[in-house]
Every structure is written in C-alpha cells, then in structure tokens.
Subunit: 307 residues, 6 copies
Amino acid sequence: MPANATDFTKVLSQTVTRLSETSVSLNNDLGGYGHVLPSVVTITEIIKTLKQLLFPEFFYNNKPSEEAMKHYHIGVDVDRLFSLLQRQIACSLHFNPATVAVVDGIESVSGDVAARTISELPELKRMLYTDIRAIFNNDPAVGNEAEVILCYPSIKAMLNYRFAHLLHRLGVPLLPRIITEIAHSETGIDIHPGATIGEYFSIDHGTGVVIGETCIIGCNVTVYQGVTLGAKNFSLDSNGHPVNVPRHPIIEDNVTIYSNASVLGRITIGHDTTIGGNVWVTHDVPPYSRVLQGQPRSEIFTDGAGI
Amino acid sequence: MPANATDFTKVLSQTVTRLSETSVSLNNDLGGYGHVLPSVVTITEIIKTLKQLLFPEFFYNNKPSEEAMKHYHIGVDVDRLFSLLQRQIACSLHFNPATVAVVDGIESVSGDVAARTISELPELKRMLYTDIRAIFNNDPAVGNEAEVILCYPSIKAMLNYRFAHLLHRLGVPLLPRIITEIAHSETGIDIHPGATIGEYFSIDHGTGVVIGETCIIGCNVTVYQGVTLGAKNFSLDSNGHPVNVPRHPIIEDNVTIYSNASVLGRITIGHDTTIGGNVWVTHDVPPYSRVLQGQPRSEIFTDGAGI
Amino acid sequence: MPANATDFTKVLSQTVTRLSETSVSLNNDLGGYGHVLPSVVTITEIIKTLKQLLFPEFFYNNKPSEEAMKHYHIGVDVDRLFSLLQRQIACSLHFNPATVAVVDGIESVSGDVAARTISELPELKRMLYTDIRAIFNNDPAVGNEAEVILCYPSIKAMLNYRFAHLLHRLGVPLLPRIITEIAHSETGIDIHPGATIGEYFSIDHGTGVVIGETCIIGCNVTVYQGVTLGAKNFSLDSNGHPVNVPRHPIIEDNVTIYSNASVLGRITIGHDTTIGGNVWVTHDVPPYSRVLQGQPRSEIFTDGAGI
Amino acid sequence: MPANATDFTKVLSQTVTRLSETSVSLNNDLGGYGHVLPSVVTITEIIKTLKQLLFPEFFYNNKPSEEAMKHYHIGVDVDRLFSLLQRQIACSLHFNPATVAVVDGIESVSGDVAARTISELPELKRMLYTDIRAIFNNDPAVGNEAEVILCYPSIKAMLNYRFAHLLHRLGVPLLPRIITEIAHSETGIDIHPGATIGEYFSIDHGTGVVIGETCIIGCNVTVYQGVTLGAKNFSLDSNGHPVNVPRHPIIEDNVTIYSNASVLGRITIGHDTTIGGNVWVTHDVPPYSRVLQGQPRSEIFTDGAGI
Amino acid sequence: MPANATDFTKVLSQTVTRLSETSVSLNNDLGGYGHVLPSVVTITEIIKTLKQLLFPEFFYNNKPSEEAMKHYHIGVDVDRLFSLLQRQIACSLHFNPATVAVVDGIESVSGDVAARTISELPELKRMLYTDIRAIFNNDPAVGNEAEVILCYPSIKAMLNYRFAHLLHRLGVPLLPRIITEIAHSETGIDIHPGATIGEYFSIDHGTGVVIGETCIIGCNVTVYQGVTLGAKNFSLDSNGHPVNVPRHPIIEDNVTIYSNASVLGRITIGHDTTIGGNVWVTHDVPPYSRVLQGQPRSEIFTDGAGI
Amino acid sequence: MPANATDFTKVLSQTVTRLSETSVSLNNDLGGYGHVLPSVVTITEIIKTLKQLLFPEFFYNNKPSEEAMKHYHIGVDVDRLFSLLQRQIACSLHFNPATVAVVDGIESVSGDVAARTISELPELKRMLYTDIRAIFNNDPAVGNEAEVILCYPSIKAMLNYRFAHLLHRLGVPLLPRIITEIAHSETGIDIHPGATIGEYFSIDHGTGVVIGETCIIGCNVTVYQGVTLGAKNFSLDSNGHPVNVPRHPIIEDNVTIYSNASVLGRITIGHDTTIGGNVWVTHDVPPYSRVLQGQPRSEIFTDGAGI
C-alpha cells in the first residue's frame, strides 16, 4: 500500500486510467455528444410551479393579492411551465430511440405535447380535489381540507402521479417516471405513471405503497401504507427481456385495502370489497368480499425466551 | 392541436382563464388576504435549531469551544427558537378557525405557548436520551450512543414527534403535523403528534412505521420497520365526517413488535408481549403473550414455474 | 405563565441555564475540543462525485465532451474524491476510540485507506453494472439500462451500499453507516454496510427493504419492497449490551423474495427458492423451495360492516 | 499575552463584557425592539424588479414570450414591487422620528406612497430613455442603444437615482439614500436623491462623479468621470450641526463638464458652457463660456530625476 | 390618492396597462423571440475559470495537488471555458446586426473564435506576468509578486481587459465590453477593450482610471488613480451619431502619469515623459518631458473663513 | 483555424499542454502543497461578524431582543470571530516567508494575535464612533448618526481600515491588505493598513480617495472624494526593488482637503489648513494655510467649437 504522497499519486493515476478505459456498452445510446438528459433540478422546478398553479392559495412564498394572483401570477406560471416542460419533453424524446417517429421534429412535437398537457390542467385540478375530499372523508384525524393539501404526503404523490400520467398517455418517455420517482423519494409512495386511477382515490400514511404500471383502479378506492398492487411473474421475449403485458391487478370501485397487503398478478378485486392487512392475494376476489389473514398462533409465555 | 407559436399562445391563455375561474370551495377559509400560512422552510430551521440545542456536541457546523457553547450559543439558539416558534404558532392559529377562543389575542397567546414549549425542552432532552439508550441496548450493530444520535433515523423521528407532541398538547393546530410529516418524509416513520409514547421507546430501521393519533404506548416498547399501530374503522358524524374518538391500540410496557405487523383498533396489547412480524392483530392480547403468523405453505419445486 | 416580554425573557434565560447544566454522559467521548465530526454535507458531495465517476455519461451538470471527460474530468474527480474521503476517514477515526491502533497516525492511515478505496472503484463499477443488468432483466416496465441508472432508487441504494461496504471492510468506523443512511432516507432501502451481497442483485421499488449487518447474499438474488432480512434475537454481554454475532440470514444464489416478507435469524434460504410475500420465515428453507402464506379467510358480505 | 486555550477564553469573555457594556448614545432611537430596519437585500430585490419592469426585453433571467411578458409578467412585477416597496417604506418611516406626522398610520401612508411611486413609473421610463439616447449621441464607441442599457454604469446610476428621487419627493426618509448608495458602490457614481436632474442627462465612464443634494441640473447636460458638483462650505445651527440650505451648483441646459472638474457652492453655470477637466470652479460662469485650467509648466529633462 | 386596498389595485392595474403599452423603439432589434442575450452570471463564471487557469496556484477553492492540477484541472477548465465562451460569443453575434457576415453560421463561427481565443491564453498569461512584475517594481509597499496577484485591483482590471481585447480583435461584439465593465464595477478602472496596451503596464490604486477605445500605449507605462486617457471631442455622421475615429492619446514607452491627470484627444505623449497629477493636457508632449500643474495660490489665514 | 469538433479538441489539448508547462517563477513560494491561502469568502464573513459586534443594533438579519443580544449574541460573535481570525492569520503567516521567526509555532502565534486583536475591539468601536460623529458634523444632508452607519461608504472603509491597521501593527502579513482591498472594491476608498489616522476622521463621498502606507494623519481631518495622499517617488535597493521608507504626507490636526487634490511625498500639511480641490501639492504647507488652484482661463464662445 502507498506510504507517501508520491505513491498516492501513482495509485490515483492508475485508477483514472482504468476508469477511463472501462467500456460499458449499454443497450441504448444516450443521444450523442451535445444532447442533454432531462434535469432533475428543472423537473423539481416544474412540480413546484405546478403546485402553485393548482393550489395558488397555498404554495406561493410571498402570497400575492387575490387580484394579482388571478390576473397575472397564474399567467406567468402557465407560461413558465410551458417553457420548462417543452424543454424537458424534448430532452426525453432525444433520449429514447424507440420513439423515432418524432425525431425529425422533436422541438415541434415537444411544443405540441407541452401545450396539450397544459390544456388538461383544469381537469387535473378537478381530479385532485376529489382525492383531497376522499382523504378528508376517511381520516378522523384531519380537521379540514386545507390541512390535507398542506400536510398529506399522498397529495404530493397523487399530484406527481396524475401529472406524470398525462405525459405518459401522450407518449413522453422517461420524464413521467422521473416525476413519480421524485414523489416516491419524498413520500415512499411508488405509483407507476402508466397506472390508471379513478376519482376519489385515497392513500393514508402511504409509505411503502406500490402501484404497478398496468393497474386499473376504479373510483372511491382506499389503500393504506405498505400495500402492493404488483406483478406475480412475467414471460420473456426472444432476447430474454420480460414482455410488457397487463400483469397488475384490476381494482373495482369502493375497495379498501389495509396495510401491508400484497395483491399480485392480473386478477380482479371485485367492487365493494375489503382486503385486510398483511394478506397475500394472487387470485380473483368477487364483489362484496372480505379477505383476512388466517388466525395467528398465540400463546402465553413467561420464560423471557422471545420468539 | 396547435401547430405554431400563435396557437400555443391561444391554448395557454385559455388555460390561464380556466384555471383562474376554477372556484374551489374548501370547508375552511385560509385566514384571508395577508395571513400567511406556516412555512416549511422556517419549520425546518426550527428543527435544525432544536437539534443544536438538544445535542450541542453534534450538530453545529463549526463546533464552538465548550465554554462558548454553554455560555453563549445555547442562549442564542433559545432566543432564536422562541422567535421563530412564536411566529409559526401565530400563523397556525390564524389558519384554524376552530381555535377561535384565542383569535382576539393571537400574538400574545403565541408568545405564551412558545415560552411554555421552550420551558419543557430540558424534559424533552431527558426523554430523548432514554430513547437513545433503548436503541443502544437493542442493536448489536451499534458501538456507542453517539453513533445512534448521528445515524439513526428513529432519533430524527422521535425528536420531531416529541417536540410536536408538546405543541399538540398546548393546543397548537397544523404546526405539529407539519413537523412530524417532515420526519415522515426523511425517515418513512409516521407518528401522529397526538400519540402518547413513554420512555425508552425504540424503533429500529423504521421505514413504514405508522403510529396513530390516539395510540397510548408504555415504557420500554420496541417496534420494527413496517409496523402499523392503526385504526380499524370509525363512525361518521351527521355531516358524514369520521368522528375523532380513541381508535388506535394501547401498547403496555415491555412490548416488542416485529416487522410489518399490523395492530389495529382500540385494543390492548398486554405488557411483556411479543408480536411476531407480518401478523394482523385486531383483538386484545393478554400480557406475556407471543403472537405469530400461522405456518406458511412450503414445498420443493424444480420445474422453474415460480409462484 | 408569562404575560409579557420581561416574563418571556425570564423563562428563556432559566431554560438556557437548565440546558447548559444538563450533563449527559455518553459511553464514548467525541474526540475532544477541536475534533470535528464527519460532515453529512461533505459526504453527500463525496457521493455526488462518485456518481459522476462511475456514470460519467449521466450525472455531469453540463455534459463535457467525451475527450475532456476521459482525459481530464475523471482525473479531477478522482483527485477530489481522494481529498474529501481522506478527511472524512480521519474524522471518523478520531471519533471512534475503539480503533486506537491507528490513533498515533490517523492522517497517514486515512490516506492509505482512501487510496485503497479508490483503487477498488473499477471493480465497484463492474459490480454495479451487474445490478443494473439484473434489474433490467426483471422489470417489463423498463425500456433500457440507461433508464435504470437514471430512475431506479435501488441503484442509488446499491451505489451507496457497495461503496460503504468497501470502507467497512477496511475498518473505517461511522462513515459507512452515514453513507447507507443517506440512501435509506432517499429510497427507504436500508442496507447495513457490513452485509455481503453478490453480483446481479436486484431490488424492485424497494421502500421498506432492510438487510442486516451479518447477511450473506449470493448471486442473482431479487427482493421486493418491504422485505426484511433481519435478526430474530440476540444475547447480551456482561455489560448488558447485545453481542455482535452472525444473526442475519444467508440467502443462496437465485432466490426471489416477494413484498413484505420477513426472513429472520441466522437461517439459510437454499438456492433457487421463492419466498412469497407477507410471510414470516424463521427456519431454514431447502433449495428449490416455494414458501407461501397460509390461505386467507375470505367471505362475501353485503352488510357494509367492514372488517 | 495568553499562552493557552484557558487564557484565550478569559480574554474573549472580558471583551464580551466590555462590548456588552459599551453604551453608545446615538442622537436618534431606532424605533425600539421589534422594529426592523430597511433591508439592503430586499432593496436590491426591488431594484432588480424595477429593471425588469422598465427594460423587460433585457433583464429577465429566462426571457418569456412577448405575449406573456405584456399580459402577465409586468403585472406580477408591479404587484411584487408594490408589496416590497410598501414594507421598506414602512421600515423607513419607523426609523425616522422627524416624520412624526405619519406615525399613527404608517402602514396606510406606506401603501399610499408605494402606489403613488408606482403610478409614476411610466414617466420614469420615458425619462430614462432620454438619458439612454443622450449617451448614445455622445459616445462614438457605442453601436446601438441596447448596448447602452446592457453595459453602461451610468444607466444603473440614473435608474437608481431617478427612482430614489421619486421616493425622496414623497417624503420617504433613509430608503432613497440606501438606493443611491447601492448604485454608488457598483458604479462609483454618487448622486444624492435630492438633486434635480433634467432630461437627456449623460454621464460617461462616471467613476468618482458626485452630485450634491441641492443641485439643479437642466436638460442636455453631460458630465465625465470624477466631476464634483459639491458644496464649498455651510453654516452651523445652534446645536453645531450644519444647516441644510441650497449649497450646490445650478447647471443650466447644454452644459458639458470634463473629467475631474470640481464645481462647488451655490453658483450658476450658464447654459451652453463647457468646463474643461481638472478645474476648480467656485464662482458663477456666464452662458456660452469655456473654462479651462491654466497652462501647465512643461520642460524637457533627461536626467531621470522624475517630478 | 388611494385610501384602501381596492384603490391600490386600481392604481396598480392602470400602471400595468401603461407599462405594457409603452412602445420603445430602439435602433436595433434584439434578435427576436427566443434569442437570449449574453448573461452576466455566465460571463462572471468565465472570468473565474480564466483566473484559475492563469493563476492555478492561487484561485482554486480547494487547492488540488500539483500533479492533479497540471494533468487534469487545467484540462477541465479549458474544456469548460471553451464551452461557456462559445455560447456567449454566439449570443453576442445574434445580438448585433452589424456583423451579418457570420449570421448564417453563428454556431460554427463561435466555435472558431472561442478556440482561437483559447489558443492565445499562454501569451495572455505571459503578458499579465509582465504587468505583475511592473507593479512589483513600482510599489515599495508590496513584499512579493504573489501579493500583487492576490490583492491588487489593477490585476483584476488587466486580466479582464487583456482577455476582452483578444475577443474584440476577433470581431466579437458586446461581450468584450461586458467583461471590462465587470472589472470597472469591481475596481473603478475603466479600460475599453479596443485600447492597445504594451507589456509591463502598471496601474496603482486605480480608482477612476479611464482608458479610451483608440488609445495606443507603449511598454513600461505607469498610470495612477484618476488618470483619464480620453477624447476631447468628435465629429458627427450624417445621422447625427458621433464618428468612431482615432480620438484618444498615444502614450509612448516609459511614460508615468500621476493621479487625476486628464490627457485628452489624439495627441502623443513622447517616451520617457512624466505627467504630474491634476493637469489637463490636450496637446502633444515631446519625449523626456515633465508636465506639471501651474503653482497653486497659497496664503496663511487664521480667521476660520474657509475657502 | 479549426473547422470541426475534432480540430477544436486538438487546439484545446495543445493549449492545455502549453498552460501546464508554463513555469512561472515567483519571488516567493506559496507555502507548499497543502497550505491554503487566506480566503476572501472567510474574510468577508469576518467583516460581517465584526459589523454585527460593533453595531449590534443595525446589522443582524433578524434583530434579537436586547437581552439576548447583550448576553448571548455578542458572546457567540466574539467566539466565532476569534476562530475565523485565528485561521486566517495562520494562513497569512504560512504565506509569508519573511516572518520566519514565528514559523515553528504558527498555530500558537495565530491564537495570540487573534486574542490580542479581539481585546482591542472596544477601543476600535470608540474610535469608529468618533468618525461617525465627525461625518455627522460635516454633512448638512444627514439627519442623524444612525443614517451615517447605515448608508455612508466611508464607515465601511474606516471599519475595514481600522481593523486591518490593528492586524498590521501586530505583524500579520497579507491579511490586512486583503481587508482594505475589500472595502476599496465596495467604496472606491483605498486606505493602506499601514497608515496612521487619528480620531474624528471624516471622508465624504470618498470614491477615488487614496491614503498611502506611511501617511500620518492627525485628529479632525476631513478629506473629500478623489483626494490622493501619495508618494512622489522612491529609491531602489540593490535588487532594483523600491525601498520602503516614509514617503507619504503628514497631515496635522484640523485639516480639510477638497475633492481631487493630490498631496504627494513626505511633506507636512500644517494644522488648521484648507487644501482646495484639484491642486497638486508636493511641498510643505505651514499651519493655517489656504492652498487653491491657480485661476482658470475663462472665455465666452458662441461658435459651438467646444474645447
């Protein structure tokens, strides 16, 4: 091992050489020199702007007058959101060679998609307010809806998911996933942008919730922390890569799923069903069901031996 | 869809109009123009100051001399904490119309509450050191208590919870919940400020832990990651909103609850009990119990068919 | 309670005195006046530099030309990483009185360890690319490996873990744990730096995963969110502190463990085994096994009574 | 002198005591505990907002579309400017005991003054464009007016002066001077907010220019670097403080004053006059004059003796 | 004047309308929607990078090892400087309609010019070291050359000037002037990028120095604070705009000019001449001259009447 | 010139090589690898702390209560100032090989000097308040002393100078000059730390003022913008470097010097003298003198010919 500064220098310069030579062949190229990747910093800015737009009474640093908010701030934020979004969409399209159809006019397509996304924001706002109402209706601990908007991690997660879902539907690669992963990191709630989720969706606490790409979720569904709506298994294509087919559950209206339950595979959970916590469900469940874990083993012990 | 800049402009300005018109009627008002909401940035600063105050040997950016720390820095931090806290308490009281009793003198009440909170910090410090000791006693992987303070997410969560609980007891709305949600986002541990937790409380790993508003937890209790101490269900009041009554478990002294267990409803887990992981418990458990999941189905397979 | 500014001043100054007097005797000293603790800000910078070094195509803010990246940027980053790392290793060695053997030459030992760590980065990079490949092979939702690098929290967690494990093997105290806790906070994945993990390790979603200090994990192992590989219990030494002995599972090659399963104690899960979700496993499992939760209780109900 | 850490501590704590005891009696009070002084950081933000408002094509970080700029950004900036300005005006009025007439309604007066100031911004913009045109007409080195706006320090100085002059005219204390001192620090041009300056005023280079409080300057006046328009002397009042009477020059239309000239006292420089550089002028100068320094002494020397 | 919030709103919205309508016709266009102007923030970054490159021993935040500095850091800085510079050159060319010859290939021309500029940095470094030596030789107060580099504002001014002069010679509009104005603001030294200045140029103190666009300055010239090398007057073209012809002094080798002297017009100051302070020189001066101000009027007074 | 990216790469890499090879031999070494230079960022922090200490009523971002300020904040600031100062003094001593006497104990000497400096702060505060009073007494435009502290650049300059002078007297190299140059850049006032300046010193406006290293200035002296108290010439030592001997003026009590006057050489300006603006004074002036520039040439012209 090196015993002095000269030896350190030698070790370091050998490592530099080895790291420079490491040739990693990824199975896609990154758009070549000059193409920049989507930026997490900018996307965070996009989400911040979106929150101001959808909840203007809550998230401005210095609350403007109501007049100024309505007439000017919303305009500035929409203009800014469009410009940031167009750029990140363009970066995402450059990144993904699978969407070649648009390559000869990425700037133009990006503008179209950004404008289309923005035109759906009023509907997005309406949907989010149904989620807020659903949480308020499900939680005795909350005093009013404003508290839900300010404090509940599920609102962060749903805002990012519903926005990412818009972009996903319009064919934007990569960007939607980065958006939902930002919420995943902050809240522990991992909803794939491809999932379809109806109105009045409520997640309580939320840490550990996973909702997979091909899930279809109805209205008035409630899930608790640690619930997985996942895949059980998948087939491989001729290259040995898993085939992307519907593989996640369909959850019908008015279903409640308690903490840490795992619901796996392309099964259907019938409407008005309650899934108890900690169960492992891999088969269809009819409407109006209750599914609970088998009885635990229970015994008295006074020997201090532990489990 | 828009094909050029002029069309984009049209789409954007239509969306601005629609978003400006969206009239959302929340079931509380936000204190009117001019009243600012509590600020997450400031509350983060409050928590940072609190950490310096309670663990002065650990969290100063540039460690001062011991003399200066004792005589001056603690004074500056207490003064600063008081001033920041008073302001955030006032914002919280403006926010919540339910606490009208204090509205005619919010500034004065805020000062009282802030001073009262600060006067309890020495006791808060003592409690936190019992938690540190409990973690140290439960984890073979840790070499000393300082490492617990520096590395363990449960200490972050308990510091925020125990401080938020003080404010909650003194009747401050909103602010306590924002404080515990900051810890929830960083650690995945979600403890409601209303919960009551005794000395020597230890959480290991912690991600996914949920402790509900009306929980009562004794001394020397240990819980692992993914444990839920939650509500099973609730009644609705005449407005259709859930009634806030005791609905979470009572956990007596010397109980250990293993990973991912769900303990739900106003049940009592008797003292000196061990709850194994992944169980779903919705009934009282007597003292000195062991509760374990039923035996799994197990089989050998060599066909590669998976589950 | 105080009714005016003078009274506030009195309460505050009394609290200052009480907090200044609080004498907490920790069971290690912190290296005395003048010794600084490791800095989370600097360690975050170390991880950022490491990401640039290992994935230079992805994580530079302003992507340099390929030539400049190979010839200059990697050199600058290695030099910078060495310098930052040496300092944090030295702080960690000052902190921990158990490693007295090196105290008379901490600066020199720190340089040795930092250089040795850096010399293993090419191997670290190779290992991480096996993890990336494993995720790509297991997830139908991902289009290419670059997306895994950019979006998947498990890559963040594995990068921090594999780097921390290097430092842990070389005897560095404290620092490795801070590194894995940074990833824990961002991803909800908690891997102890002492765990041993083979090639092609894949975590999906990941929130709530816990992998304990003495785990030994083979190659081609896959775990899902909420999986615990933990300890069941431990003995105490004569001081009442738990003894640090092997107490976590051995997972052989080609094992898959589904969401929220808890696998506890020094047991062996034989190769080519599948553990279903939500099970509680505390005994050895032979190779080629399937272990699933017992059947849930299921019933139809239409009375709206809930669980 | 101290020889070790203990002694240092003693010296420091003695100094703390002495500095704490130092009782400085200023001849005004600062508005008491709780009243904050105007903030240079906020005032800098005010000036930045003002620049965006007056030169929207130039000073936005991310240039918005022209539509968005006209319809939304100018509105946001006016709203923001009003809010920041009202607050700083209120702080300034609290600071100054001489303006007691408004003390019983500072918030209301501040709003009035801020609104009045904003209503004069269109005229302020017109005046500044005459200054820009004047500089463009006087400098062969500049290619277009946009370059003047982007590069010329005199535009910074004039923007701050003309805005400060508005506030000064409306009776705001302190704030106007802070605004002109910000420009003084950046440009070396020191114009008192009380000075009166006509259209088409041009300063070239500008470092060292001083224009005193009671100056009256006509139209089409040009001054170069180092020019002083100052006071020669003043009388004292019965407290020994100088009396604030007109004591600076009157400069009529179409005057040019070259570098480093000093023009002092309540004298009149007649229109269409040229003052050469480096002269000292303390008496009236009639219109159409040329005033030049007396001939220098000039000699050849080859002895290397210097001056 | 407005008496309440509604009236304020009205005043503000009227001002918004008036400011939005203000149509200012500048005599050049700004490159249309989408073209960004050069950025002072980026240019400041360019100068910071340049200082690191030219004085690597002095200006790195964390001083790297000499090996790393030579082999890697200089490479990174050159790469970065090229990339930042190319972009700012492109912005400047878009800005200026006079340089139409390059408009059809601005990106390519910008790359050429940036590379050419960088290829002259070694010569730039050599020149700056002659300036440093000259200052060291002229100032008894300085102990060594390193102190000159670290403390003397004239080095800041000369670095910016000599770099801006390179860009000016290569035909880059706007950018050179912004670079010298940054130094002007920091140091009070205003050197036009078009001026020609020989080796071993020394400025002491420097505040108020002005060196005009068409100055030609020989070797070993020293100037003190407040010295103007300016224009006396100029002719107008048919549009009434001043004609850009040689109009500033020629200063031959070995000339010293003392504080606050003004030397104006296309005159020649012969070599080995000393110009005393505070003189006004508008005619040629032969070599080996001394030029001093005429004798002041001096008298004794004891009446306290002042000047 | 390069026509494409490959050629650019070649030009850049050649320049890297040339810049790496440039061997500049300075006439002092910089303390070797590992020794850091004083940091302008830290020194700026020192000055900010010093301003809070000396003017606690004015410069805290969030004004603390008076009690807290006296008992705690001043203590924290003194502790912090000591620690920052000790480090910067040590860096300065490492830098300068001329102060070898202390090299074997730089850390200890730095502590001594820092403590000694801090012990003189109460006297420094007293002196600065005489300067504030002097400005207040000399300027009809100022309403109270607080305004002088908040707005006047001369107070910035005097604070930095008087503090730097303390360090200079105690033998600290480099650091004092960096401190005064920071003020020079902000205010245009350049006072050498070696100058000696009595009580009640007043500078008005100040841009361009230069006060040389060996100046001795009495009490109640007033100088205006652009005044130089400089050196006329100097002898060279046997290495050709100027000898550092007394070479700047002695200004006795009660002297006023008007704008842009240059007073040069080791001459004495007798007490109670007034020096008019724009004069060049290189000989002794007896007490009670008035020194004014010779009469300018003045003439009427109406031909528009200019100067």
